[in-house]
């Protein structure tokens, strides 16, 4: 018997691994009408793993000091074998993580998968989106270049518009009145310590919730597209005669992951400057303000909204209300119907909001 077989049997005799694999993979059945959108969760896990791996590699040479941060990144980019690629993987990956997270949430939104009993799934997912934006914001500052310095200044300025506590929050985040060495220390701690740990825990909670309730049934290709859960006691949503996760849906996961990697690699190799423009390669200079200071692309809509209202506080209230509405959507939308075409008011409103967000982002970019 081969050595690895012997080792496998040795572990299996003690832990019953085969049973777990059989039960949780081949015995784990998904709805028969499951679609490719369901694989975005796996794509996100791969993205997170890639971000952690490339982040750890960058940490080997990165120095979180205002005098050395930029030159250490330049050293990684120019002198470390494959360093340029690792840095680009990390920078491009952070933006794509937000894109895929938003797509994942939109698929959940239009398929009504957030409805009872999956309120907590939605809420943990939404918090994960906010944390992903937070980890990207904090990571953005670390290379200490003109773009990151000024984008962080603008992004943290926005927090200052909160009445009474706003200025204190900005000072707490920056460690002073201005973005400086204390801000770098705080952001570095958040970026490599607290936020990755928080995201890992929350991913665990999110996966646990999915395991407990079972995967929701998509509303497509069925006659009855209403929510099967009728506010009763806990009930696992099983799918007898469904598709085994392994190997069938696992292959769908691999297809989606490969397609994601194709897009990701295309951006890394052919359009890296989309996420690292010219100002991202100039050292931060607090005395020279670039002509067009903008936050990261996923904060552009918020940035433009703040500018749109005559008073920043109104702009802030509107945004807080919008965020709270989206976060609490499963508690507000209690209708049983899941199919997007059978709830036109919801679908049209949601599409309108998405178009508004895209419009505000584009406006923010060109303003």
């Amino acid at each position: 018997m081969m050595l690895h077989k012997k080792l496998y049997n040795w572990i299996d005799d003690r832990l019953g691994m085969h049973e777990i694999i059989n039960e949780k993979r081949s015995g784990y059945l998904l709805p028969p009408n499951v679609n490719a959108w369901y694989s975005l969760g796996s794509v996100l896990l791969v993205i997170f793993a890639l971000q952690v791996t490339t982040g750890l590699l960058l940490m080997l040479y990165y120095v979180p000091d205002v005098d050395k941060a930029f030159s250490s990144v330049a050293f990684i980019m120019n002198d470390i074998p494959l360093g340029r690629l690792v840095r680009l993987f990390h920078a491009v990956g952070s933006s794509l993580m937000i894109v895929v997270l938003v797509l994942h949430m939109l698929s959940i939104l239009f398929m009504g998968s957030y409805k009872s009993p999956r309120e907590m799934h939605w809420l943990t997912g939404f918090i994960l989106l906010l944390m992903a934006m937070g980890i990207s914001l904090t990571g953005y500052l670390l290379p200490w270049n003109q773009l990151s310095f000024w984008a962080t200044t603008v992004a943290t300025d926005g927090i200052g518009t909160i009445p009474v506590v706003g200025p204190y929050l900005v000072e707490l985040l920056r460690g002073g009145k201005m973005v400086g060495f204390k801000t770098l220390g705080r952001f570095y701690t958040l970026h490599v310590g607290l936020l990755p740990a928080g995201i890992t825990i929350l991913i665990g909670v999110h996966l646990f919730l999915i395991q407990r309730t079972g995967v929701s049934t998509p509303p497509f290709g069925l006659e009855d597209t209403s929510n099967p859960w009728k506010e009763e006691k806990f009930k696992y949503e099983d799918h007898p005669g469904g598709i085994p996760f392994f190997p069938n849906f696992f292959l769908q996961d691999l297809i989606s992951i490969s397609l994601y990697l194709a897009c990701f690699l295309a951006l890394v190799f052919f359009a890296p400057n989309l996420f690292l423009p010219a100002t991202a390669n100039l050292p931060a200079n607090p005395y020279v303000t670039p002509a067009h200071i903008k936050p990261e692309w996923y904060f552009l809509a918020n940035y433009q909204t703040l500018k749109l209202f005559p008073s920043e506080i109104i702009g802030l209230i509107v945004q807080v209300l919008a965020i709270a509405f989206v976060a609490l959507l499963p508690f507000i939308d209690r209708g049983a119907e899941k199919h997007p075409l059978k709830r036109p008011f919801f679908t049209i409103t949601a599409l309108g909001c998405i178009l508004l967000w895209i419009g505000m982002t584009v406006w923010g970019y060109y303003s």
């Binding site: 330049a74 050293f75 980019m77 120019n78 002198d79 340029r84 690629l85 190997p247 069938n248 292959l251 769908q252 691999l254 297809i255 490969s258 397609l259 990697l261 194709a262 690699l265 295309a266 890394v268 190799f269 052919f270 400057n273 690292l276 423009p277 010219a278 100002t279 991202a280 390669n281 100039l282």
Partner: protein
């Protein structure tokens, strides 16, 4: 009135000293005083502000001596103040920093004519509004002040190609810099080559200039190949193709399984 002027000068000096101290840079009282003076006493500062010396932080005392940090004794000979240098002393003064240029200048027709009123450094580069060495300085208007432009034109033509190469590499460095490429070594190498080339201007020896230009051009050709740091399009295409092929392979397996 006189009292007001002195008070104003003192206030400006104190303010500038506080600002300069706060910024952690050397205090230059010559500039703060002469800026607020009128007429010919403030003109040098205006000219200096736009000079290559100002760009590199070379201030008044580098040429005029004195102590720029002590306003009371700034113009004291005891502190090394030498005032306006005499024309024959100018090349040696400038050559204190620009040593390579001085050697070429001394051996040139310009240098040999120094004792009989020949041109010094400031004739072409200016005194306070000093301009850096560039091929544009060699022109009919400048050269015809003293002699015919014929030989100067020959020199200029011999240098044009090299100057063009230097400018092209400058542009390349600017592009590489914004792509995150470390251009430090490249810049230092170019700086040395440019200095060697510009110092040679001053020899006025057409044969030497042509010969040296060829050497420098060969060096610049090596320099222009440096940089990049990217992986090239082939690696990118292979990586994307690998991912797409993997997707196709998994799709075919899945289809077969379904």
């Amino acid at each position: 009135m006189r009292g007001w002027t002195i008070s104003l000068l003192l206030a400006v000096m104190m303010l500038s000293q506080v600002q300069a101290d706060a910024a952690g840079v050397a205090v230059v009282n010559c500039i703060s005083c002469h800026t607020v003076l009128s007429g010919r006493l403030s003109t040098p500062v205006k000219l200096w502000n736009s000079s290559i010396h100002a760009e590199h932080g070379i201030t008044c005392n580098a040429c005029h001596g004195g102590d720029p940090a002590d306003s009371a004794n700034a113009m004291s000979p005891a502190r090394g103040f030498r005032g306006k240098p005499a024309a024959p002393a100018v090349p040696a003064l400038c050559g204190g920093c620009h040593m390579g240029v001085l050697k070429h200048y001394n051996e040139s027709a310009h240098g040999r004519a120094l004792t009989v009123g020949g041109p010094t450094c400031i004739t072409c580069h200016g005194s306070h509004g000093v301009v850096s060495a560039s091929i544009e300085l060699i022109n009919r208007k400048n050269c015809s002040k003293c002699h015919s432009y014929t030989k100067a034109r020959k020199i200029k033509n011999a240098m044009l190609k090299t100057e063009g190469m230097l400018k092209a590499i400058d542009k390349k460095i600017a592009v590489l810099k914004v792509q995150g490429v470390d251009t430090d070594k490249l810049e230092k190498r170019l700086f040395a080559l440019r200095n060697r080339f510009h110092a040679m201007y001053h020899s006025l020896d057409v044969k030497l200039i042509v010969q040296e230009s060829d050497h420098i051009q060969a060096e610049l050709k090596k320099t222009s190949g440096i940089g990049g740091g990217g992986t090239g399009p082939l690696v990118g295409m292979l990586a994307v193709a690998w991912a797409l092929l993997a997707a196709l392979l998994f799709y075919l397996i899945k289809k077969n399984l379904d």
